[in-house]
Amino acid sequence: MSSLTGSPASAGVSRRSVLKGATALGTAALVTPWGTPVRAQPKRGGTLRVGMAHGSTTDAMDPGSWEADFMIFQAHTRNNYLTEIAADGSLVPELAESWEASPDAKVWTFKIREGVDYHSGHRLVAEDVIASIDHHRGDDSTSAAKPIVADVVDMKADGMNVIVTLANGNADFPFVLSDYHLPILPAKDGMIDPETRDGCGPFRIVDLEFGVGARYERHDGYWKSGLPYIDAIEQFVIHDDAARQNALISGEVNYIDTVDLNTVSLLGRAAGIEILSVTGTQHYGLPMDTRAAPFDNVHVRLALKYAINRQQLVDTILNGYGSLGNDHPIGPGARFFNTDLPQKELDPDMSKFHLKQAGLDSLSVDIHLADAAFAGAIDAGVLFSESAASAGINLNVVREPNDGYWSNVWMQKPFVGTYWGGRPTEDWMFATAYAEGVPWNETYWSHDRFNELLISARSELDENLRREMYFEMQQIVSDEGGIIIPMFAAYVGAYSDALVKPDQVASNWRNDGHRIGERWWFA
């Protein structure tokens, strides 16, 4: 068996290159504009058959509703975005050729690429960009991306330039535009048709049945010259772990996006099968409601944080395909990852000490889990309850149905499980789930110093000062926050060795940032 582990380039992008997108191109001489390193000319041709674990008959075309990997994969196969996160984790231009910000990072000007054609033959114009983003804004928006574009107060077109005005300065705004909900679609009368199957990405949809599969063929007029290498893609929804692995072994598909970690080593031993493992920002967590007793006491939270055996979880639940978490959501590959923070470990004495600090002799709590929270969540809970017993904590695992988990258990019960795909920037991650009062603050946590730092770091220009602030924020979340984050989970897939992967595989999402269709080729 062979496997590889990639992580986002630790350097990432400097703030200045984000502020002024065009310079990113200038400094990266060996990288083509779309981030593929230049090397021996890959071959063209072949049909990529992909087996995917997530996809439902209730999926829909509307970009605001995309949630399952099936649609996110389709999004990157069919569409282009204004900006793209390259395989090395840096931000590169896609449909926006370059961008520039006002000094307070409130007004952004994006120069839209000329000569880009949709599958339907329409030509990309600036109005398309405005309509595509507008679709997610406004009171009637039902889009999942509504919160991330909430700060946009005005957009206007000026030839092929789009000028966006924000309510508050945000130096990371170009990162936001790479979000998978925000594909650029053709506009008519200032509106996009959310049901359209058109797009300007590398492949066009030939056939699609939600919850079953789809077929795509190469978009001959694709603007990235020479791409894609592959002629066609067939996408299948295969929910069952064993069925997905069997399909790969028997050659009915040549790539599967999710591998059952219990049997990954057996699969890797099969002839002609390679395991693809990428650790990035995806992490699993156990959030506690910091308003509810006994979790409102920071010592109780610390007692629990010291009562979990992280290494055991990584070894057992992830089968080693992941890394230790330290109760904050910033991964080791991130720009401002706090390297000084001591790693928390299972320490029953420490745990008992904090229980005593909280004025308790023993603790008995329920944790509500379902495998919908993350694969292996229930098993993780069982292991946690075994290790917690050594600290005198009685942790009772309540199995909740997968069905309805996110509406009835998560953020409803006081102690649950969660997963985060992660966000490309520290600010985005913290602002999404840790800032006071935001809808996804799953621990209902509020910390004055943290909130203060979050605002000032967002508009801080000095790299070192910014690093100091993010370091402190990670330490605060780790010691005082309401979530236990025991592990960062790798995205583990597998592919037939008929496929060739590029030297660097993106870690922001599964499937090479869901861009496997334009980044991979057949040997």
Binding site: Q245, N262, T263, D315, N319, D371, G381, V382, V397, D403
Partner: protein
């Protein structure tokens, strides 16, 4: 070659099983009081083997804490350890002792299946006999209600109900028993319909026997045979239902061990030729076969077919 080896071992297993059944029958016949011994002597070897296995399951289930080498939920090793002297059947996906979990699962699974089936039968037989013996609008209402419930696929109905009420063991028993009882109702009513028109029931009615007495004294004993046969099958459907529910993400609360969920948890291993998931599946299958061997014997006795 593999096929022949397999067949050979299968033959050896069958012979050993029957031999064990024979020894067991001899032993029990010797140990029992005379009237019971006479009945037992008529048991075919398959039924003797069945009774032996059921007895072993009961002993294991009752004395699980004494029999099992390790506790039910404790993590005692690394995950998926191979079979060795300490962990006779290796360890599971979390590093818990497989043999111990199988033993505790006997207690949990057989207990749950028995209670569920018993409840389903009490409910189904009572209503079924009532419908048949009273007839009229009572029969109409009950039958139509059961028709409606049966028109909803069992697994999906169970999924709906368990999502509404939550998946505690008690809820699971009640929901599966409710759904199962509709099938029992149909059978009980059909069988009883043929009995209520018999002369001796008419006679009992004319004697002025009450409804309850009529049902218990006259109808139920004569409807027993097909009901017992159905019990044997229904019993194993409970395991299957739990297993299927666990496949769809609703199962027994962890860390409780049960065979249905254990098959599901380890099932992917079979794709690589690892036989671990065959152990719990085999435990279910063996019990099902044995229960039905005994049931078949009883049925044969009841049918009055002398050969």
């Amino acid at each position: 070659m593999g096929l022949f080896t397999g067949l050979f071992w299968l033959a050896v297993a069958i012979i050993l099983g029957l031999a064990a059944g024979w020894i067991f029958r001899v032993a029990v016949v010797a140990a029992s009081p005379r009237p019971i011994a006479r009945e037992l002597r008529t048991a075919p070897l398959t039924a003797s083997f069945g009774m032996l296995v059921i007895l072993i399951y009961i002993v294991v289930a009752v004395f699980a804490p004494l029999v099992a080498p390790f506790p039910e939920t404790e993590v005692v090793g690394t995950e998926y350890q191979p079979w060795d002297d300490v962990h006779v059947l290796g360890t599971d996906n979390l590093g818990r002792d497989m043999l111990s979990r199988l033993i505790y699962a006997a207690r949990n699974t057989v207990g749950i299946a028995f209670i569920t089936t018993a409840l389903a039968f009490i409910l189904g037989v009572m209503t079924g006999l009532l419908a048949a013996s009273v007839g009229g609008w009572v029969d109409q209402v009950l039958s139509r209600a059961v028709d409606v419930l049966m028109a909803i696929p069992a697994l999906i109905f169970a999924l709906l109900l368990l999502t509404i009420v939550g998946t505690s063991i008690v809820n699971m028993i009640l929901v599966i028993a409710l759904i199962d009882s509709t099938r029992v109702f149909r059978l009980a009513r059909a069988v009883a319909m043929n009995i209520v028109v018999m002369d001796y029931v008419e006679a009992a009615r004319l004697r002025g026997e009450g409804l309850l007495r009529l049902n218990i004294r006259e109808i139920l004993p004569n409807a027993m045979a097909p009901l017992v046969a159905e019990f044997g099958l229904r019993f194993c459907f409970v395991f299957l239902m739990i297993s299927a529910l666990s496949f769809l993400g609703l199962g027994i609360q962890p860390p409780t061990a049960d065979w249905g969920s254990m098959v599901k948890d380890n099932a992917t291993l079979i794709s690589f030729g690892d036989i671990t998931p065959l152990l719990p599946a085999g435990a279910i299958a063996l019990l099902t076969v044995c229960v039905n061997f005994v049931v078949d014997w009883q049925l044969h006795r009841a049918s009055g077919l002398k050969e």
